[in-house]
Amino acid sequence: MITRRMAVSAGMAVAVTAGTSRIGAWGATSERRRTPGSIDVLLCDETIEMPLQIAALIDASRQTLPVVGIQLDAVEHAALKRVLLESHSIVGISSGATLFCLERISWDHGFRLTGRIQRCANEVNDAACMQGLAAFLSGANPPVATPSQLTRAYRPSRADGTLHAWAMRKSVSRQLREEV
């Protein structure tokens, strides 16, 4: 049986080597049945210019996973809220500033950061680095014991040339924003 995780991983691996692209949308794919442990959506930061390799990775992942751009402003907020309300497990790639904001917005929907790796933008020319990113975003991110350690372990900057790949998972204990 092919799981979504395997498919995503394969899609990303293809992207690393081939740089394929196809438009996908959250609305078109969000109704698919979830499998336990699967990733619901990939969020990508539209407030920064992604290196070409990362952009290709994101494009390729559209084949297997809804990809939603993050703008973090009021105009786009309704779409982000819908993603947070309807998802249980999300991954993303962003600047530290965007992650910092998204982390706090998603807290109110019950999400916790469960994994994060960071790379300098100029590292992505390295194939091993890209494979590491692809593997992380496809779900190969071991959960940590205390999510709080992750919340304070990165610079919330948009200007430091660092890209963060991260994973968040919804816990049931605290969802202060329930409505769409």
Binding site: D73, S95, W107, A159, S173
Partner: protein, 547 residues
């Protein structure tokens, strides 16, 4: 389990049980994982013994629940700390001012209670964010505009209570001044409405601010006299058009007549939009805010003067700027309204500023609103267009300090006179401190015109996760406060770690103001449970060191 100060474990357990019976078990948070979210991400005391963290959090859904919760808090003497959305970063986040307080998280109270297009007002609960209100208006196609701070993810009500400001037209920028009518749960659990709201069935609660008798709304701004559960705000009709116009003047000391002339235009209500002072000489042109690109390449001679380790010599900088063909100052004005009004405002601006030799003027294209989505997307900040965003949410060049990663900032925010002379003095003073401590600031910082009659000179200082570095920053802030106080400049707002310090400098006639505020505190909150420590207004227990 962390306990509130002077509360036994059995009483705290009983209080939590009573809280849960009011709001439901799922809305009382006591686990470390949940309470972590009520830490101040930008705390200058992070990880230290003095860091103010919550003992629990409770999330009510209505004013009625708040009433009952406050009664329980009184019964068990539990200090409570209401927050709206807790996103007041740089001036404190969701963390209480007194360690061990129970946070009242009001995010679930997120109803737009009433909105009136005809009279231009809205009544909101604490959990309504600027994002929420903007989308509420857009979804219903209402012809209303909001003024939002930047970043704009916080609570409309909370921002006003903290003295927050926005970026559009002057009558709406000061958010507390734009409020009209408050509903508040007093520390004894009694629900009260201010202004015309005190009249049962009032038809004009959001239309007439003074009400009858003393106007006490201000008692709930930056204070700890109650839990505000509803608040009315005046909103503006959407302007038909928007544009910006840039005025440049060539010399350093041109700032003095420049500010005076703008002041007269503001006082006569000709200039109403926010204007931004910047310096093309220092690498920030007047319309920099509209592009995502960085500053243009700088002239080598100008750069050398700016990077002088002994400080920027303004005479040398002016000479270098002159030879590079750069004006020293730029003012960018936001102009709103019908096209003929914008053109008339610009004509008045030109006429008034023509007396400054070498002044240059550029009015950008007047654009019909709303702007197309693609154009909005390309803008650095949409706040001046009434659209909240987090686009300014970036620490810019603040990457590290003293070898430690910068994870946030804390504001030192003195209010200085609205004059060019004061601006020059403040620039010199604060640039000197930045050099002395090698702070990661640009060599020149400029005052903000966000207030109507005074300048704000906000300086963002780095916050790290190193107690040693944070202790150094705290000392720098104390030095800055002393320097500012000696010049008669007071802060308009501060982070919880400095509430008492700042309240302490407002000391005219042996702290008459603080004594008055604490007399009120003793009268309305005899158990000292309400927002203990907030804004340095101490309860009787705190003054005695027992609470």
């Amino acid at each position: 389990m962390r306990l509130p100060p002077n509360v036994s474990k059995s009483d705290f357990s009983a209080a939590l049980g009573a809280f849960a019976s009011i709001v439901g078990d799922q809305w009382v948070f006591t686990t470390d994982e949940d309470l972590e979210l009520y830490r101040d991400s930008y705390s200058i005391l992070w990880g230290e013994a003095d860091e103010r963290t919550a003992s629990a959090a409770v999330a009510p859904d209505s004013a009625d629940q708040v009433v009952e919760l406050v009664k329980v808090a009184n019964r068990y003497r539990i200090p409570i700390y209401p927050i709206s959305t807790g996103k007041n970063l740089g001036y404190g986040g969701a963390a209480p001012a007194l360690a061990g307080s129970v946070v009242f998280d009001l995010k679930r109270m997120n109803r737009v209670v009433e909105i009136d297009e005809r009279h231009g007002y809205v009544v909101v609960e604490p959990g309504v964010s600027y994002f929420d209100l903007y989308n509420y208006i857009q979804e219903r196609g209402l012809k209303l505009w909001i003024d939002c701070p930047s970043p704009g993810w916080g609570s409309v009500l909370g921002n006003a209570l903290d003295g927050g400001v926005g970026v559009t037209l002057a009558p709406y920028r000061n958010h507390f001044e734009a409020q009209c009518g408050i509903e508040v749960v007093l520390p004894n659990g009694r629900l009260m409405r201010t202004g015309m709201g005190a009249l049962p069935g009032a038809q004009t609660w959001q239309q007439f601010k003074p009400g009858f008798g003393p106007r006490i709304d201000g008692l709930f701004k930056q204070s700890n006299y109650g839990v505000v559960t509803k608040m009315g705000f005046w909103l503006m009709p959407p302007p038909e058009n928007h544009t910006t116009g840039v005025v440049t003047v060539p010399k350093f000391r041109d700032i003095i007549p420049l500010v005076d002339i703008i002041g007269r235009l503001e006082q006569s209500k000709i200039v109403q939009g926010l204007w931004t002072l910047s310096s093309p000489t220092a690498g920030t042109p007047g319309d920099a805010a509209h592009g995502n690109g960085g500053p243009p390449p700088m002239d080598a001679k100008v750069l050398a003067v700016l990077n002088d380790p002994d400080g920027v010599d303004m005479d040398k900088l002016e000479a270098a700027a002159h030879s590079a063909g750069l004006p020293f100052w730029a003012c960018e004005f936001n102009l709103y309204g019908p096209k003929k009004l914008i053109e008339a405002q610009w004509d008045c601006l030109r006429d008034a500023m023509a007396e400054i030799s070498g002044a240059r003027f550029k009015l950008n294209a007047i654009r019909r609103l709303p702007l197309p989505p693609q154009e909005l997307k390309a803008r650095f900040d949409t706040g001046p267009l009434g659209i909240p965003s987090l686009r300014t949410f970036s620490l810019g060049p603040m990457i590290s300090y003293e070898g430690e990663d910068i994870v946030g900032h804390i504001f030192f925010s003195p209010v200085i006179p609205r004059t060019g002379e004061a601006a020059i003095e403040a620039m010199n003073v604060f640039a000197g401190i930045a050099r002395k401590y090698k702070l990661p600031c640009p060599p020149l910082q400029f005052p903000s015109s966000i207030f109507e009659r005074a300048f704000l000179f906000a300086v963002g200082l780095p916050v790290t996760r190193s107690p040693v570095v944070n202790a150094k920053v705290r000392e720098i802030i104390r030095e800055l406060v002393a320097i500012a106080t000696a010049r008669g400049w007071g802060e308009y707002r501060t982070a919880p770690a400095f509430y008492e310090l700042i309240m302490g400098v407002y000391s005219f006639n042996d702290h008459a103001l603080r004594d008055f505020l604490e007399t009120i505190k003793d009268a309305v909150d005899p158990n000292g449970i309400m927002s203990a420590g907030r804004y340095g207004i101490r309860s009787r227990q705190a003054r005695k060191g027992t609470g």
